[in-house]
Point group: C3
Chain length 214, copies 3
C-alpha cells in the first residue's frame, strides 16, 4: 500500500469515529442540561459547549481562524437536530441509560480529540509539550466548560478515575510518532487507539489516579 493510499484510508476511517466522539460529548451536555432542568436554549448551548468547547478553546489559544465549526457549519445543524429530537423523545427515565450507553463512545471521543488536537498543534509548529497540552485541552475542555456553565466543579478535575491523564499519555504517543516522521493520519490513529485502549482498561479494571493525601 502506498503512502497516499494509507493516508486516504486512515483519513476516511477517522471521520466516523470523530462523529461518534462528538455525539458522545454532545449527549453528555444534553444529560447535564436535563439534570439541571435548563430550558431549550440552555440545552442547546450546553450541548454545543460540551461538543465544541474543547476544539474552540484550542483554536483560540493557537490563534487558528476560522474556528472549525464556523468553517464546517453542518456541525451546528447536527447539534440543533439533536436538541430538537431530544425535546421530543428524551425522558427522565432515559437519563441513566443514556449516560451508561455513552461511556464507550465517550472513550472514543477522548482518544480522537486528544490525538487530533495534538497533531493540529504540531502542524502549527508548537513544541512537544504545548502540543500535548493542546491535545488534552481539546479532549477535556468541552466537559470542563459544560460543568462551569451548569455551575459545578468540573468533573474532569475531581473524578480520580484517569481521564485527562489517559489523554495526556496518548498525546505523547502522537508526538513520538510525529518525531519518527510517520504520516500525520497514522500518528493520530495510533495515538487515538492507545488512548481509547487505556481508557477502556481504566473503566473495566477501575484504576485510580494517585490521590492527594491532603
Amino acid at each position: 500500500m502506498s503512502n497516499e493510499q494509507l493516508q486516504w484510508w486512515v483519513t476516511n476511517f477517522h471521520l466516523p469515529f470523530e462523529v461518534l466522539g462528538t455525539l458522545a460529548f454532545a449527549f453528555s451536555g444534553l444529560i447535564e442540561a436535563a439534570r439541571k432542568k435548563l430550558d431549550i436554549v440552555g440545552m442547546a448551548m450546553v450541548t454545543a459547549v460540551a461538543a465544541f468547547g474543547g476544539g474552540t478553546l484550542r483554536d483560540i489559544l493557537l490563534d487558528r481562524s476560522p474556528l472549525f465549526w464556523i468553517a464546517n457549519d453542518w456541525w451546528i445543524w447536527t447539534i440543533l437536530v439533536i436538541c430538537g429530537l431530544a425535546m421530543i423523545f428524551f425522558r427522565a427515565r432515559h437519563l441513566e441509560f443514556t449516560e451508561r450507553a455513552m461511556q464507550w463512545p465517550d472513550a472514543i471521543g477522548l482518544g480522537v480529540f486528544a490525538s487530533g488536537g495534538t497533531m493540529l498543534a504540531l502542524q502549527a509548529g508548537t513544541s512537544a509539550i504545548v502540543a500535548v497540552i493542546m491535545g488534552v485541552i481539546t479532549s477535556i475542555f468541552g466537559s470542563v466548560l459544560r460543568d462551569i456553565f451548569t455551575n459545578q466543579v468540573p468533573r474532569a478535575f475531581t473524578d480520580h478515575q484517569p481521564y485527562a491523564s489517559v489523554a495526556f499519555l496518548g498525546c505523547w504517543v502522537v508526538v513520538f510518532a510525529h518525531w519518527l516522521a510517520w504520516p500525520a493520519a497514522l500518528a493520530v490513529a495510533v495515538g487515538a487507539l492507545v488512548t481509547v485502549a487505556i481508557r477502556l482498561a481504566v473503566m473495566i479494571f477501575g484504576w485510580r489516579v494517585p490521590s492527594w493525601r491532603v
Copy 2:
C-alpha cells in the same frame, strides 16, 4: 429618499438604541453585583462583563481585531462613570425598581445586539447559521458570563421565558433581509424591530418556551 440618505438615517437612528441597550445590560450586571455584595472591583468587572461580554466573545470567535471596546474606549469610561455614580447614589431599596425599569431597555438591547451581531458575522463572510449563532451569542453572553462570574446557573438557560429564542428568530430576519440584498443598516433595523416587538409581546402576554418533560 436616496440609498445614502436612508443609510445615514438608519445608522444614526441606531446609536441611541445601542447605548440604551448597553446601559440596560450594564445595569443588569450592577444589580447582580449588588445582590452578591461584591466590592467596587467586582462591581466594575461584572458590570463590564454584562455590557461587553457578548460582543467580546463574538469578536474573539470571529477573530475580529481590535475588539470594539478597545477601538472605542469611551465605552470603558462610560462603565467606570456608571459604577462611580452607582457607588454614590445606588441603594438596596433601588434594586427591584431598577430591575423592573430596565426590562424595556433590556428588550431593546436584545434586539439591537442580536441584529448587529448577525450583520457583522454576515459581513465577515460566515454562513447564515453561523451568523445567527453569532447574533444570539452577542445578545445573551453578556448575561451568561455575568451569571458565571457571580457563581450562578445562567438565567438565560433556565428562564423558560423566550429570550434567546426571540433573538434567534430576529437574527433570521436579518439573514433574510441580507439575502434580499437590503442595505445593511435597514436589515439590522428591521431585525431589531422584530426582535424587540416579539420580546415585548412575550413579556406582556407571559409566553413560555416548551418545557423539558424530563
Copy 3:
C-alpha cells in the same frame, strides 16, 4: 549609566520577580485545588490557570500571538514540576502556612504583572485606559479564573481589601511614565514598585475599599 545599560539592568532585574510572582499565583491555585480536593489533573489545570490565566486572557483580548506560554514553554514544565513536587511533599497541615507565606510574593506578582501587562498593551498601541484595564486583567484574572474553575465567586470581586484597585493605580503610573517617554523597562519597574509598596501598606495597615451601602 547609559540608556542601554539601564535597560539591561532593569530587564534582568525584572525576571526573578516575574518568576517569584508566577510561583505565588501558581501556589494560590495549588492551595485552592487542595481545598476542593481536586485530583492531579484538576490540580495541574487550576495551578496553570491561576499562574497563566491573566496573561492568556490579555493576549487573547489584544490578539497577540503566539501566547507567551506557547512561545516560552518552560513555563509549562515549571507548573508540571511544581504539581509533581506538591503531590509528593504537600500536606493539609501545610495549607495555611503556605498561604500566609505566599502573601508577599503574591504582592510582587500583582505589581509585576499589572505593570508588565500595561506596557505590553501600550506597545501594542492601545489607548491609556485600555492599557490600564489590560494591566488589571493580567494581574487579577488568574485568580478570577481559578475561582470560577473551582466554582466560587471570585475572591478578587468580594474581598473589600484593595487588590485589583491597587493594581489599577500602579497601571496609571506606568501610563504616566510612558507618556513622559521613560524607557519601557524603567516605567514597568517603577509602576511595579509603586503597586507592591501600596499593596504591602494595605496588608500591614488593613485598609479597605469603600463598601456598597446596599
